[in-house]
Amino acid sequence: MNRLMIACLLVGLSLGSIGSSATAQDSVRLTGSGATFPFPLYSAWFKSFSAKHKGVTVDYQGKGSGAGIRDFVNRTVDFAASDAAMTDEEISKVPGGVQLLPMTGGEIVLAYNLPGNPKGLKLPRDVYSQIFLGKITKWSDAKLKAANPGVNLPDTDITVVRRADSSGTTFVFTNHLAAISDEWKKGPGVGTTVNWPKSDKIVASPKNDGVSATIKQTPGAIGYLEFAFAKFAKLEMAELQNKAGHYVAPGTDGGAAALASVTLPADLRAWVPDPDSAKAYPIATYTWMMFYKESKDPKKAAALRQLVEYCLDEGQKMSTQMGYIPLPANVVAAVKKASASIQ
């Protein structure tokens, strides 16, 4: 038994050394880490980029926005990604400076599980904020019925499914809820994790996949997650009422309208907590990649600029199909210009 373990250990060690010696070739290996929210899209981009650019490999680890920022500040990666951009304090910890580039947009949807799978449930603004506050607890609530005439809403409890880990998705969602509900702002507040109301009917699951699995397994559940994950898991998604009072289904059009309603400032950091446009889907956000302005490795910097350009030109074409929002044309131009400062 012991001998077997030692043998395994030796094999493992020798494999490890083979692996590390292979990287010593004349190729560029870019490593990044961060947000899980755009992970499916980024990995598709990087895979096709590597296929077209021989000698450049890109490894991206979806660890979470906060972890990505920490790796970036500690200089253990070549780039990072975050749904919550970076705060001024975090930026000040990086000598030489940080270039933040919005790479794609995403939407957060409210997915639900109801008997008979009614499609396109309409949720008024005051209703969904009350549901997540644990104030509206039954699917047969009068306000829900009034907004959905003709839909057979059962008399079951609403089980709210939220993220258990701290995440950029929660940040964007709570940022929106705080914008539309004073009660939310004063109660749970805004953050990557917040103090949720205590209730038997508010449960938490780790990661987007955990939330989607729990919604799928729980009759009467509603939860927030990233559009691409909900689409992939074939969950029913609610139409939400936007600031102008219209009900908008999640999708590229509504998301693009939401992103177009803000103008990006010079540092390319902007939030869309509650878009004004009549066509806008209410919960949308940009998601960023971060690069060093002084990486001290011109070869890697050149490869990164190439990568950004590829993502902006070819990459945006994949966004829609994968459930993300392509950047508006003026944003693409601004990002391209800013990417020159990756050095």
Binding site: A204, P206, A213, G220
Partner: protein, 323 residues
């Protein structure tokens, strides 16, 4: 090799010979190695404690004992308390111990007391030990997709009929304490079963023979003679199983519902220390890391107490069996 072969007559006079210099040398090296290995384990534990304690010291200074009795975990407002997590950890582990312990000990009796032909018993034992090799995350998924749906109607019925009893005081929506405890019970089963089997096998055969000789039935022999004789060993198995349940992370993070509330109900969501740590570390800021390290120290203290108790009981058991 250098020693020349002696004629048979002379060999008869010198059966043994003093160890050679080489033998002295290897003996010394071996002894030094084992000693270093033993110290290394202690040093490692010390380093872990120092690291966690060092990082958690600021959390301990700022939150003190109130951390253990407060129920709010609000990162944005800097309020931290882990009473719900301690409660959930102990509640889920005790439930798992009750279920897993019962089945583990029963299984150990079944496998050691000649109920089965030896080959079949080996097969059973291997299958039970295989349970220990299944990854935690697989248990979590199995719990989510199999245990929870199976349990939901049962929970609903119990709430309807017996809802006035606090432990059935809510319906099971999805994740919750009951499915977590069931999955945990299966996870600790191999530990409990394996160590209980050892304890039962340690009971001298003559004890059993003596019991039969006095005219007991098989069940009387097992319940009144064998189990009491092996009791301390079995108790040690239960304590080790409990320790395993306390530290279990991934399956619980997926199944327990991660809700910071203290509820007696089996079907309510709860939270555990291990799940709190696993889910919050990756994105934690500086302040949060400090309090998470404090929480880790608390978990370490709980598991350490339980494991030391288990080891002590095991030691006591083997001493008594030898006597």
């Amino acid at each position: 090799m250098s020693v020349a072969r002696l004629p048979i007559a002379a060999e008869h006079e010198r059966v043994s010979q003093p160890p050679s210099g080489w033998e002295y040398f290897t003996d010394r090296v071996f002894r030094a190695l084992t000693r270093a290995g033993a110290w290394l384990v202690l040093i490692l534990l010390g380093l872990i404690l120092w690291e966690i304690g060092g990082k958690g010291s600021l959390g301990i200074r700022d939150y003190g004992l109130g951390f253990l009795t407060s129920t709010t975990w609000d990162v944005g407002r800097g309020q931290f308390g882990i009473l719900p997590h301690i409660w959930g950890t102990l509640y889920s582990s005790l439930l798992a111990l009750a279920i897993g312990g019962f089945f583990g000990v029963t299984m150990a009796i079944f496998l050691t007391q000649d109920f089965l032909p030896p080959q079949l018993a080996v097969l059973f034992r291997t299958v039970v030990e295989l349970l220990a090799a299944i990854p935690s995350v697989v248990y979590g998924l199995w719990g989510l997709f199999v245990v929870v749906p199976a349990l939901r109607p049962v929970a609903g019925w119990l709430f309807d009929k017996l809802g006035f009893i606090p432990i059935f005081g809510s319906t099971l929506s999805g994740p919750g304490l009951a499915p977590s405890a069931l999955v945990l019970a299966i996870m600790i089963l191999p530990t409990v079963a394996a160590i209980s089997q050892d304890a039962l096998r340690l009971v001298p055969y003559r004890v059993k023979e003596a019991a039969y000789g006095m005219g007991t039935t098989r069940w009387e022999a097992i319940l009144k003679v064998l189990l009491p004789t092996a009791a301390t060993g079995i108790f040690g198995a239960l304590v080790l199983g409990f320790g395993r349940a306390l530290g279990e992370t991934m399956a619980l993070a997926m199944l327990i519902g991660n809700s910071n509330q203290i509820s007696l109900s089996l079907f309510s969501p709860a939270n555990t220390l291990a799940a709190l740590l696993a889910l919050n570390f990756p994105e934690a800021g500086k302040r949060e890391v400090e309090v998470l390290m404090y929480a880790a120290l608390v978990l370490l203290a709980i598991t350490l107490v339980v494991n030391v108790a288990g080891e002590a009981i095991m030691a006591l058991s083997s001493r008594r069996t030898k006597a």
